[in-house]
Each structure stands twice: as structure tokens, then as C-alpha cells.
């Protein structure tokens, strides 16, 4: 009698395993086939992208760097690989690690607010953005292990790697023509109104900026070393914000991040206090993001600075 029960358990495990592999396989196929969308931007940055200049980071990267302006101004190819969502330094670090296995860009911009190196639990939750890559890029497990002690167990399931991605896969695969962006740059069309601008919106209020996140600091230093060893010009940029009182300017964690950049002779271009943008509501879509007009001005400024500082020659 018990033998029959064990046999049934065995059959159930087989059925479950098959279901998981089939569903996981379909989700994997749909994931890598996406022709646009945030996951496409990550995939493209670590697979096919060969641009001279690349920008990585969060929504502020995605909305602030207009590739057409860079290409027109300095004659080099440019890809915006910023991903909406604010994944701390983990996602750019993973992208750089994999991208530089394929080729060496001339310049990599990493959009960063140094305060974001403070501890915030959300950064760990959001590491799940890297889960789908665990099969093809096993190194990603070094980041994922920070998220969850039981992740190794959960990743036994292939479907779990694509958790919460079914909607994105359907939308971006089936309705891709509705999401056309120029080299992944997504301009914000609207403008902040003078009234909106006084609203209390603070994009990084959740960070414990009094203490550096040790894991983040280690990854940050590792990222700098990877770039230095490959002789790529790395520039960290803190792009404009509407009003710099929105952040705890600069906290212990922020100062520590800037110190690390200085110690390693890495450029940090800080525009968060730049008078061209400060309190100019018509250049912003919201308090943390430039609109298209602001992004175009900002992209021009960066392109000119690349040339004027001799980082690249004007073609």
C-alpha cells in the first residue's frame, strides 16, 4: 500500500518538473525575444550592443541622455541602456561585467546619486530583475545571493526565474510597435508646473543614507576595478534635479561613494546643483526627471564636456 503512495509522490514530482520546465522554457523564449521594453534594454546592453558610448543607470539615465544629440555632436555611436526602476549599482555592475566580455566601449556613463549607496531594502528586492539571466550568465548568482538566503532552492524552479514577467513579455512581444524608442531613450514630454514643483516628492527618501551599504560598496569598488583593468573611460554622473533639497545632500554614504571615486581617479560629474537647471520647472517632467527639452540641453552639455576635457576627440 505504502509502495503505491511513494510511487504516486514520484509521479507527482515528475509531472511538476515537466510543467515547470515547459512553462519556464516558454517564458525564457518570450523573455529573450522581446524587441523592446526594460528587459530588452538589459539584454541588448549585454549581448548585441557595440556602441562607442553607453549610459547605464535608472530612469534618470533613461530619460536624460539623448543618443541623437551625442552622435550629432561628437560623431560616435551612443546607446542609452538605462532601465526604469532604480536598481542601485547592482544592475549597472552586472551590465558592465557582461558587456565588457563582448567589447570595450570608449566611454561608459553611469548615472548615480552617491547617496543611493546607502542601505535600502528595496535594492535587494529589486535584484530579482537579474533572475532571468541566471541560466545564461551564471556569474549573476554572485549578486542574487545577496537577495535571499533561500534563493538557490527557489531557483531550482525554472518558472520562478521569470516571476512576474508574463505581463511584460506579452505586452512587449505582442505590442512592440507601440513602444518605439530612439536607441532606448525615452523622452518625457510633459513639463512640471510651478504648482507641482512645490509638491514633496523625494525619490530616494527610503535610503538609510547615514550608513553605506557594505555589499553595495564592495560591488561599487569591484566595478571600478573592472573598468580600470580594461582601460575604459568611466564617468559617474549625478544629473540635474529640480531642487537639490529633495535629497539629504550629501550624506555619509554619499560622501563615502565620492571619496571612493576620488581615490580611484574616477570622474564624477555632479549636475545636481547646476544653475542651468536648478528650479527651472519648464526643464523638468517631475522633480527628479528632466523633460525632453531639459534632456536635450543636458545631453549637449555632456557631449561638449567630453570633447572639451579631451576624453574623446571630436569626429
Amino acid at each position: 500500500m505504502m509502495y503505491k503512495k511513494y510511487y504516486q509522490i514520484f509521479i507527482f514530482i515528475i509531472v511538476l518538473f515537466c510543467f515547470d520546465r515547459v512553462v519556464g522554457g516558454l517564458l525564457e523564449y518570450g523573455f529573450y525575444k522581446q524587441p523592446t521594453g526594460p528587459n530588452y534594454q538589459i539584454i541588448q546592453s549585454i549581448t548585441t550592443n557595440r556602441s562607442d558610448i553607453v549610459v547605464l543607470g535608472s530612469s534618470r539615465a533613461q530619460h536624460h541622455y539623448n543618443p541623437e544629440i551625442f552622435t550629432k555632436k561628437i560623431g560616435l555611436s551612443f546607446t542609452n541602456s538605462g532601465v526604469n526602476g532604480g536598481y542601485g549599482i547592482y544592475l549597472p555592475a552586472f551590465q558592465i561585467e557582461q558587456m565588457t566580455n563582448n567589447y570595450f566601449p570608449k566611454v561608459i556613463f553611469v548615472e548615480i546619486n552617491p547617496n543611493a549607496l546607502g542601505y535600502w531594502k528595496g535594492n535587494y528586492d529589486r535584484l530579482s530583475v537579474l533572475m532571468p539571466f541566471v541560466d545564461r550568465y551564471p556569474d549573476v548568482f554572485n549578486y542574487l545571493v545577496l537577495k535571499d538566503d533561500f534563493l538557490k532552492l527557489k531557483l531550482l524552479s525554472k518558472s520562478y526565474r521569470y516571476n512576474s514577467l508574463i505581463y511584460n513579455e506579452l505586452i512587449y512581444n505582442l505590442l512592440s510597435n507601440k513602444f518605439k524608442h530612439v536607441k532606448s531613450f525615452i523622452p518625457i514630454k510633459k513639463s512640471l508646473s510651478p504648482l507641482d514643483s512645490v509638491a514633496n516628492v523625494d525619490g530616494i527618501k527610503n535610503y538609510n543614507t547615514n550608513a553605506t551599504d557594505l555589499n553595495m560598496q564592495i560591488i561599487f569598488e569591484k566595478l571600478i576595478k573592472v573598468i580600470q583593468n580594461k582601460n575604459i573611460k568611466l564617468i559617474f554622473v549625478n544629473s540635474p534635479i529640480y531642487n537639490n533639497k529633495a535629497v539629504n545632500y550629501y550624506s555619509f554614504a554619499g560622501k563615502k561613494a565620492i571619496q571612493t571615486m576620488n581615490d580611484n581617479n574616477i570622474r564624477f560629474w555632479d549636475y545636481s546643483n547646476d544653475s542651468t537647471f536648478l528650479n527651472k520647472y519648464y526643464l523638468f517632467g517631475d522633480r527628479l526627471h528632466l523633460n525632453q527639452k531639459g534632456a536635450d540641453i543636458f545631453s549637449n552639455i555632456l557631449a561638449e564636456r567630453l570633447v572639451s576635457e579631451g576624453i574623446i576627440k571630436n569626429n
Binding site: 505504502m2 507527482f12 509531472v15 511538476l16 515547470d20 528586492d125 524552479s157 518558472s159 520562478y160 505581463y167
Partner: protein, 444 residues
């Protein structure tokens, strides 16, 4: 072994609070023995001492700040320049649940329905049994204590049934409740920026969220206990099938409703039986106001409970008229009318459960009736809609409160049955929220 696991489980949240739990356990353990041995007069004294100690712990940790915040406000109104200091302490997890369970033991011993438990370990387990420690069901000693004395053996049907029930609980929690939670949190945390239509959708969805969250927890807890061979009481019996608010309370959080019925409502009604119908009404208002306070130390919870008491009073007073009306109406129309009115009340009243202050609750309800507009949409809703569809398909026509005994979980064809269970498992893995919050009822 079970006791050690339960201690470990409780200490996982805040280890030091286990001392509070053991304080009440030791006290009630001895109170039970003393009550059994004592004379009639002394019995009552021991019971009162035990109740004061239990309610005292509850008051210090849950109600102290609420009471003194209100006293401080009163003093300000009367221009008295004194502020009582407030405590900066975290509420021990599940305090209201295990305190009520402990109180039910001493009351039952006092009433002579239960023998005092002599084995300290078993009594501790009665309070601390981990599948139901933090959010119930609030057990009665008659149902569970004897089970801890029984020798448990491996029974395949129990293990398989328990695991199926846990699976369904996980589905309700991770795929429905936590998905809906993403949308509802986004709306309620910025309620001033949302119109009435969105707030209405969030209010409707909150009813589903709280059901799936709490009944999901109970399914997991009852299922886990079943795996080990224990039978816990049912806490839900498909509450959204109710046709009246009184029926809702016979189907929703049944272990709490029956607790209040046995230990508060019935004694009030019996002690005031000379008042006739008014004793019942008085009992309802008091019981449901206390039930509101049990849920949370704030005015919105008290009002939430009080309004339930008022609506139940209305149902008692209009019982005959409503019966005549429903006899006159066609059956299906009567059912629709009853459901719409009950759901409308429940949904709007749950707004008081979700918000953090009375003022914001009234704002939300006012907006629902006045500000219509475009509904805020979030992609996570699609996953939840899939989950709700599954919930409706599976729970719609069930008879037994234990879903693991239902036909759908026991399809005779092995391949179909395992395919269904695999589908549920994969749905959880692919569409569940794994970074979500705690169970809503953990805060009580």
C-alpha cells in the same frame, strides 16, 4: 519537539517577547489548576486575576498609547498643561490571538467544561502551537488540548490533504492578496492624488485582499497542523456567499466571532435578559465595538466594529419586514438585492479597516461618492485577476470548508489531479509576489 519549534518560530520575530508569552502561560497554567481546586467564591477570584493579567498585558502593549494619547488630547482641550508619556514599544506579534486563546482556557475551566491541564509543556503548546500562534484560528481547549496528548502517526491522507490546503493558501496569499496589495497600497498611500472611481476599485479589491490574505493564512496554518495530524477549527466558510451581515459573521473569522459570542455577547444578554430584545441590541453594540478595538487600538477600528453592531441591530429590528419583502420578490432578485446591499456595506466599512485615521477614512468614502474619473491601472492587477478567476472557479460551489477534501483537489484521474496541482504550484512561482509584506492579521 513541537514546543521547541513553536518557541523558535515565535522568537524569529522578536526573541525577548517570548518572556511575555511565558509570563501569561505560567500564570494561566496555575490559574487553571487553582480554579479547578478552589471553592465557588475563590474560583471566581482566580478567574478574575487571570483575566486581569491577560487583559493587562494586552492593555500595556496594545492600548496604553491609544488610551493616553486620547487622555493627553482631552487635557489639551481642557487646557491642562500635562502630557502623559507614551511608550515606544513594538506590539508583540499575534498578541491578541494568543491572549484570547489563553483566556478561553481559564474561562472554560471555570465553567467546568474543561479539566485543568496538569502537563505544563502541553499547556504551553496549547497557547504556542505554531501553525495558529500568530493569527489564529483562536482555538478552544476542548478542541485542541486532548490532541496534544494523543500519539501521532504518519497518515498519508493527512499529509497529502494538509499539503494541498497549504498550496491553496499560498496561492490565495501570494498570487491574489499580495498582488492586490501592490495596487491597493499604491492607491491608499497616495489617496489624495486618486479620484473616487479608483478609490472605489481599491475598496472593492481590499475586500478580496483581506479575505485571501487571512483565509490564505488559515489554510496554510490548518494545513500545516493537518500534516502533523492535528485538526484545528475552521475559521472561514466562504463568507462572500452571505445574504446578510449576521450570516457574514457566521462565515468570517468564525473562531473570533464564536469567542465573542461565548464569552461576551451571551453573558451580556443573559445578565440583562429582563430587557428583552434590547438586551440583544445592547450586547451586539458592546460586542462589536470591543471586536473593533480588538482589531486595532484606534478610533477607525472602533467605528468599524460599532457600525457592524448597528447594522446587525438593524437586521434584527427589520427581520420580519425584510422576510415579507423577500417572500414577495422573485428569488433571484432577492438574492441579488441582499448581496448588493451586504457587499456595499462590507466594502465601504472595510475602508475604515485599511486607512490609518478616521479623517482619511471619511475623505475616501466622500470621494467615492463625489469624484468620478479615470481609473488608475497597474499591470499587477492582471495577475490578480487571473488569481481571482481561479478563486471563483474553485471556491464557488464548494460545500466543505476544508478545500483539500473538495472534488477539484481530488480528481480521480491521477494525471489530471497532478496536472492541476502542478499548475497551481507553477502559478505561484511565476505569478506570486515573493517580496510582499506580512499577513495583514499579524499586526493584531
Amino acid at each position: 519537539m513541537l514546543l521547541i519549534s513553536s518557541c523558535y518560530f515565535y522568537m524569529f520575530f522578536k526573541p525577548i517577547y517570548i518572556l511575555i508569552l511565558f509570563f501569561t502561560i505560567i500564570l494561566d497554567y496555575y490559574a487553571g489548576i487553582k480554579i479547578e481546586k478552589a471553592s465557588e467564591k475563590q474560583k471566581k477570584m482566580f478567574l478574575i486575576l487571570s483575566l486581569i493579567a491577560n487583559i493587562g498585558v494586552l492593555c500595556i502593549f496594545k492600548y496604553y498609547n491609544f488610551i493616553f494619547e486620547n487622555i493627553n488630547e482631552m487635557l489639551t482641550i481642557f487646557k491642562v498643561n500635562y502630557d502623559f508619556p507614551l511608550l515606544k514599544i513594538l506590539l508583540p506579534i499575534g498578541l491578541s490571538f494568543h491572549t484570547f486563546q489563553a483566556m478561553s482556557y481559564t474561562i472554560e475551566v471555570y465553567r467546568g467544561n474543561q479539566k485543568a491541564e496538569r502537563h505544563f509543556g502541553i499547556y504551553s503548546l496549547y497557547v504556542m502551537f505554531y501553525p495558529q500562534l500568530v493569527a489564529g484560528p483562536i482555538e478552544r481547549p476542548q478542541n485542541i488540548l486532548h490532541q496534544f496528548h494523543e500519539r501521532k502517526i504518519f497518515i498519508y491522507e493527512n499529509v497529502s490533504g494538509g499539503l494541498k490546503r497549504m498550496l491553496w493558501g499560498l496561492f490565495k496569499k501570494l498570487v491574489i492578496a499580495d498582488r492586490l496589495g501592490l495596487y491597493i497600497d499604491a492607491v491608499y498611500n497616495n489617496q489624495e492624488h486618486h479620484n473616487g472611481s479608483t478609490l472605489l476599485i481599491a475598496a472593492i479589491l481590499f475586500a478580496l485582499q483581506i479575505y485571501c490574505d487571512f483565509s490564505g493564512y488559515c489554510d496554510i496554518g490548518i494545513g500545516a497542523a493537518k500534516v502533523m495530524g492535528f485538526k484545528l477549527m475552521e475559521n472561514f466558510n466562504y463568507p462572500f456567499r452571505c445574504l446578510s451581515v449576521s450570516e457574514f459573521w457566521r462565515r468570517w473569522h468564525m473562531s473570533l466571532s464564536t469567542w465573542f459570542n461565548d464569552y461576551l455577547f451571551n453573558p451580556i444578554v443573559i445578565n440583562n435578559r429582563d430587557w428583552g430584545k434590547w438586551a440583544v441590541i445592547f450586547g451586539l453594540i458592546i460586542t462589536f465595538s470591543v471586536s473593533g478595538l480588538w482589531h486595532g487600538a484606534s478610533w477607525n477600528f472602533i467605528l468599524w466594529g460599532l457600525t457592524h453592531g448597528i447594522v446587525l441591530t438593524y437586521e434584527i429590528l427589520t427581520k420580519k419586514i425584510r422576510k415579507q419583502l423577500f417572500n414577495w420578490l422573485p428569488d433571484f432578485f432577492g438574492i441579488i438585492l441582499a448581496r448588493v446591499s451586504v457587499y456595499t456595506f462590507l466594502i465601504l466599512n472595510w475602508v475604515l479597516f485599511r486607512i490609518t485615521s478616521l479623517k482619511s477614512g471619511f475623505n475616501v468614502i466622500a470621494k467615492i461618492f463625489t469624484q468620478q474619473g479615470k481609473i488608475f491601472y497597474d499591470p499587477s492587477l492582471l495577475y490578480a485577476i487571473f488569481g481571482i478567476g481561479m478563486l471563483a472557479l474553485i471556491e464557488w460551489n464548494l460545500k466543505s470548508a476544508d478545500i483539500s477534501e473538495s472534488k477539484v483537489f481530488n480528481i480521480p484521474n491521477v494525471f489530471l489531479r497532478y496536472s492541476f496541482l502542478s499548475f497551481l504550484t507553477i502559478s505561484i512561482l511565476a505569478a506570486g509576489v515573493f517580496d510582499g509584506g506580512q499577513f495583514i492579521y499579524f499586526q493584531f
